[in-house]
């Protein structure tokens, strides 16, 4: 009986770590391959007689070429500016809306909450075409401003929905006691609620920044001049066609473009997972 149980436990452990190894290999191999490619000299990269996974003389040439001969740094700056502005705008607007919908009673607040939830589900590919039409009529076509005002359309619903959950978790008595002491609602919000909400706001901001950094469809259609492109569209539309034997620098670009996101989120993994599952787990 005892040995049977122990045997069961051992087989289970073996299966678990076998499964873990399987997912690590499958999910991370592409990154390994991108990294190896980015530091392999061209002579090794295109030499079919060499085993592909090994590396003899690592080099930074591809990175140097990327920085010196392409507009990578410009696109990096563009991405940072667009993501920062649209995240900032969306957090402010989203926090106010979330507070109102989670806390204040007024006619239609329920319906508004549901409507915002529905907009959160709308994929950008459904709306990019008429949006381009509207942006053109506003005279903003092919500008970075176009991205800064269109990104909030998917960031605000997301932030609002996420932050509503956080607001509901904060006891009402906290602000009520502040209001008994003579504070207005907005003062109570600023002095009492927002400091408690800070972790929630940070996680919403982090998530929003990731979403805007990764955005592709709007950037592809609304910002077409090479100098105003963001990192993903710049790399995909300007670098891919440039040269057939360009894979080293291309992989360097793809990795460097992903690093800020991976870096940010490694510090805030807990928040990130909470944010990602907030919609799913709590509904």
């Amino acid at each position: 009986m005892q040995t049977g149980l122990r045997f069961q436990k051992i087989t289970k452990t073996i299966w678990v770590y076998f499964g873990l190894a399987f997912f690590i290999v499958i999910l991370l191999f592409p990154f390994y391959w991108m990294f190896i490619t980015s530091i392999k000299p061209d002579t090794e990269l295109y030499d079919m007689s060499q085993p592909p996974l090994t590396l003899y003389k690592p080099t930074l040439d591809h990175y140097v070429y990327l920085i010196e001969n392409t507009r990578f740094l410009l696109w990096l700056k563009n991405s940072a500016v667009v993501a920062t502005v649209s995240t900032g705008v969306s957090i402010v607007i989203g926090t106010l809306a979330a507070y109102s919908l989670a806390r204040l009673r007024f006619r239609g607040s329920q319906t508004l909450g549901l409507t915002i939830f529905i907009t959160y589900l709308i994929p950008t590919t459904l709306i990019f075409l008429p949006l381009a039409y509207v942006i053109r009529n506003l005279g903003l076509f092919d500008t970075q401003l176009a991205l800064m005002i269109t990104y909030p359309t998917f960031l605000i619903p997301f932030c609002t929905w996420l932050l509503m959950g956080y607001f509901k978790g904060i006891p009402k008595e906290l602000e009520e006691s502040a209001m008994v002491d003579g504070a207005t609602r907005l003062q109570a919000l600023r002095m009492i609620i927002l400091p408690i909400m800070l972790p929630g706001i940070v996680s919403a901001a982090l998530f929003a920044f990731t979403l805007s950094w990764n955005e592709f469809v709007y950037a592809l259609t609304l910002a077409q001049t090479e100098a105003i492109k963001t990192l993903p569209t710049g790399i995909v539309s300007q670098l891919v066609l440039a040269d057939v034997y360009f894979w080293g620098s291309l992989m360097a670009a793809a990795l460097l473009g992903s690093v800020p996101i991976a870096f940010l989120y490694s510090f805030f993994l807990e928040y990130y997972v909470k944010g990602m599952t907030a919609g799913a787990v709590k509904g």
């Binding site: 990154f31 085993p51 592909p52 204040l104 007024f106 589900l121 599952t277």
Partner: protein
């Protein structure tokens, strides 16, 4: 009369205009709508209004090359699309792409969640690195796959050949069947962590006592999964799957980067065909009509989600 009663009370007279304004603004029925207004305004101008424009555009023959607003042609774009072989192909592709990908993402994501739930060492570390495919920009990781699928230097081919798993090179993106398989593969790769981590959160929300009770009843592992884990995980699974169906159905980046819809339209999805027709070929009206076909799936998903939310409350 009113004025004298007001003057008899000491405090209101000492109120300045600003104080009264702030008291008025402090009422829930005023402050509430005021605080949501900016969000509603942006969504009205940049979601609701464009959506109406899309419906109107889909009934015109507007092209980018001409600056006029186009002629209103009722449903001519749609009848044209129904007879168009590329559109028929795209419809089949989209359903194939979405259903197959979501199925494998769900199954493998569930396995990943069950595995991660049992891992005892460096839990957060593993959870962190396994989420990478989901958080990095899809367009950039798709470039990595483009290189892995390269017709000449594909590392996948070289490894599979070396290990003797295939006898000749697979032309990943070059034939209709393999191209669809390849874009699905990338979509599944990107989506597994989303399912895995979300379902893991769902698993960890199941109270431990239920398992202990099952143990006392002498339940076997399989019956514990079937009678405790599965039913309690259902709600999360439903929400995550619905969300994924909507997103996968409207997917764009992977196909755009890897195949641009080719070869011979075998991987075109509604979203890439919309882009191709409206932006690249300049037929705005027809492109808008294609994009409308992404709408019904969204509506179904939203209705199901709302029904679930109501049940939850």
């Amino acid at each position: 009369m009113q004025a004298t009663t007001a003057q008899e009370r000491p405090s209101p007279t000492s109120q300045t205009f600003m104080q009264r304004l702030s008291a008025w603004f402090n009422q829930e029925r005023i402050l509430g709508p005021a605080l949501v207004a900016p969000a509603v305004l942006i969504l009205l101008v940049l979601i609701a209004y464009p959506f109406c424009i899309a419906i109107w555009l889909s009934m015109t023959d507007k092209v980018i090359a001409r600056s006029d607003t186009g002629n209103f042609i009722w449903f001519a774009n749609f009848t044209k699309l129904f007879k168009d072989s590329i559109f028929q192909r795209t419809t089949m592709n989209t359903f194939n792409y979405a259903l197959v990908s979501v199925f494998f993402k769900l199954v493998l994501g569930l396995v990943m969640a069950l595995v991660l739930d049992e891992v005892r060492f460096f839990k957060n570390f593993f959870r962190g690195i396994l989420l990478l495919p989901w958080i990095v920009p899809t367009s950039l990781s798709a470039l990595g796959w483009l290189w892995m699928f390269d017709s000449q230097f594909s590392v996948l081919n070289r490894l599979l050949l070396d290990w003797g798993l295939i006898s000749e090179k697979i032309i990943w993106l070059g034939t209709p069947a393999t191209a669809m398989f390849s874009v699905q593969l990338v979509n599944i790769w990107r989506g597994i962590p989303f399912f895995g981590i979300s379902l893991l959160a769902g698993l960890q929300a199941i109270p431990q006592e239920l398992y202990e009770a099952a143990d006392i009843d002498g339940a076997r592992a399989w019956s514990k999964f079937w009678n405790v884990t599965f039913p309690l995980l259902m709600p999360v699974t439903a929400v995550v799957t619905l969300f994924s169906i909507v997103q996968t159905f409207a997917d764009f980046q992977i196909v755009y980067v890897l195949t641009r819809g080719g070869p011979v339209n075998s991987t075109h999805l509604f979203a890439t065909l919309t882009h191709q027709t409206a932006i690249l070929a300049g037929r705005l009206g027809e492109g808008a009509a294609v994009s409308i076909f992404m709408f019904p799936v969204l509506v179904i998903a939203v209705v199901l989600q709302l029904r679930y939310l109501q049940k939850d409350n």
